[in-house]
């Protein structure tokens, strides 16, 4: 049996092809998905998605969303997804630093919520690069 992965963002289809295995970071921790997985629906956290093509592992930064697995079809709906190889390490690192600074400066409930979200996004992007190398 083959497992098909489809990563959709509002802009475009990021990934739509066959994979061997994926590791998905969900709200309740990472789960690995192999062919013939039981149908589940899960929330996807801001985190990295690891994809195995034969013997090669790829990473992707996911910006939070939802995944549906069933019938050897994985559909991942996320706000934004970036392949680890497409992220510019310097830029990502810089964004992370800005986000950290912003969180320290944040005042009030609202700013804290915003800063926290931004920080988590930035951190995930940096992680996606680091896993690669």
């Amino acid at each position: 049996m083959t497992l098909n992965l489809c990563v959709l963002t509002p802009n475009r289809i990021v990934w739509d092809s066959e994979v061997k295995e994926i590791i998905l970071s969900t709200n309740s921790g990472q789960i690995g998905v192999l062919p013939n997985h039981a149908p589940i629906a899960t929330a996807v956290d801001i985190g990295i998605l690891r994809i195995r093509l034969n013997d090669q592992w790829l990473t992707m930064a996911l910006m939070g969303g939802f995944a549906r697995i069933g019938n050897n079809e994985i559909t991942v709906l996320v706000n934004d997804a970036e392949k680890g190889s497409d992220i510019d390490p310097q830029e990502a690192q810089q964004t992370l630093e800005t986000a950290e600074a912003n969180l320290r400066k944040a005042e009030g409930k609202r700013q804290t919520i915003e800063a926290n979200l931004a920080l988590r996004r930035a951190r995930t992007r940096v992680e996606a690069i680091n896993v690669m190398s």
Binding site: P10, T26, N27, I40, A41, F66, L77, N79, D80
Partner: protein, 451 residues
């Protein structure tokens, strides 16, 4: 021959005239009529019968060519000028469209002119212009026409790209609706308390106003701003507080000029709306709502109906009703009409049709799903996605409407420029002809006098 002197005299006379008249813009206001109309008319017939209103009615101050001449010359000059006048004031051009260069009736003019009372009573001051001015004017109209034509083509090309963007986003939104529908079915029985669905008594409302970044697109920006103003007035009447999130340069400059309207954030759009921009707006909206600063978020944007029609609409973005949001992709929860808060906002009644379409799409999807997390958590993950796709869609539609409006406006402007150019060149040719005839007459009469 005192022709040079006369010319100078007429120049100074024209300068006086210019000082007295309110100066019209130097560039032919081809677009002015379109803008003006958008202020006064509603959107319904805006695009349809525009052409009939678009005849430019303006005039331009140029030196009157005629002035007093010596009695000896009067006979020939008169015949020449009469010829000019009759040639240029065609019946098709009414008094309102005074671009025909009618004779300027100076006080020392002979009272035997037929058109004298008519032109004096009309509000537009007819001005005669010389050949040179006409030539300049024709070339300026020509240039403007080139610009408008180019803008039209650019807008047309961009519309295609905007449509592509919508098509690219379709798989996502379709799957999302499918999943939401499916989950909603399973969640109906449970009592859900997700932060984005929380319906609180409304004290403060956030309005997300999406405008364009550029002008020259007919009444597009005005229509949406007027809509926002109306909504603000309504909210004020209801005694509710409000705040604005302005997206797009035109809206930004509008609200910046009006400091009494509270604006939470100014955002700028770019050429093509992406998920990032939608995310920026969604983040702002999300934090405003979750931190309970506002209790309701409304989205004001221009809905793209077709290339010649677009409507400014208001959609409720938050709170999302977990039962309703499946029903239509456009963000107004249909089944919440009984709700008091919803009755405040769901004034656009075009939702039922789309609901049917989406329901047919989702019928065949029935796998036995297991929830990895709490249904509430899953809903929590899905609703921001939904929020984002809503905003992205609104941005895309707004852009498409803007481009379509620009296309229409520019195509009208080009048509007007063509028409104007035609009339002006006709006048120019007639005047030239008249001048030549006059010169020939002078030569002939001079020759006759010698004989």
């Amino acid at each position: 021959m005192s022709a040079p002197n006369d010319h100078q005299q007429s120049k100074s006379l024209s300068q006086n005239l210019i000082q007295k008249l309110p100066l019209p813009p130097l560039i032919p206001p081809l677009f002015a009529t379109i803008h003006l109309k958008s202020y006064t008319h509603e959107d319904k017939d805006f695009f349809t019968n525009q052409a009939s209103h678009c005849r430019p009615s303006f005039f331009f101050p140029v030196p009157p060519f005629r002035a007093s001449k010596t009695p000896l010359q009067l006979g020939t000059t008169m015949s020449c000028s009469n010829l000019t006048m009759w040639a240029s004031s065609k019946p098709s051009l009414s008094d309102a469209s005074a671009l025909s260069c009618r004779s300027f009736i100076a006080p020392l003019q002979l009272p035997s002119q037929n058109s004298l009372p008519a032109s004096r009573s009309s509000s537009v001051t007819p001005v005669q212009c010389g050949l040179r001015e006409l030539r300049e004017r024709i070339s300026s109209v020509k240039n403007t026409q080139k610009i408008t034509e180019a803008m039209k083509l650019v807008a047309a090309a961009k519309v295609r790209r905007a449509q592509e963007a919508v098509v690219n986003g379709r798989p996502f939104s379709e799957t999302l609706v499918e999943v939401l529908y499916n989950i909603n079915e399973q969640l109906q029985v449970e009592d859900i308390d997700a932060p984005l669905t929380k319906v609180r008594p409304v004290k403060k409302v956030a309005l997300v106003v999406i405008t364009g970044d550029r002008g020259l697109c007919g009444g597009f920006n005005n229509m949406i701003i007027k809509k926002a103003e109306r909504r603000i007035a309504e909210l004020k009447a209801l005694g509710l507080e409000f705040t604005i999130i302005s997206v797009g340069k035109k809206g930004n400059s509008y609200f910046l000029r009006r400091p009494y309207i509270p604006v939470d954030k100014f955002l700028e759009g770019t050429n093509l709306p992406t998920a990032k921009e939608a995310q920026a707006i969604a983040d702002d909206v999300f934090s405003l709502f979750v931190s309970e600063e506002v209790d309701k978020v409304e989205l004001l944007y221009t809905k793209f109906v077709s290339l010649v029609k677009s409507d400014p609409v208001i959609h409720t973005l938050l709170p999302l009703s977990p039962k309703g949001e499946i029903c239509d992709i456009n963000g107004v929860c249909v089944d919440a009409v009984d709700d008091e808060f919803f009755r405040l906002t769901t004034k656009e009644g075009k939702l039922t049709v789309e609901r049917d379409v989406i329901k047919t799409q989702t019928v065949d999807f029935t796998p036995v799903l297991q929830f990895e997390q709490d249904p509430v958590q899953i809903l929590d993950a899905l609703l921001p996605l939904y929020l984002n796709s809503q905003i992205l869609r609104a941005l895309q539609e707004s852009l498409a409407s803007e481009l379509a409006a620009r296309m229409t406006a520019m195509s009208n402007a080009t048509d007007n420029a063509v028409e104007l150019k035609k009339t002006l060149s006709q006048t120019y040719n007639r005047q030239r002809q008249a001048k030549i005839t006059g010169e020939i007459l002078e030569i002939v009469s001079g020759a006759n006098a010698l004989v």
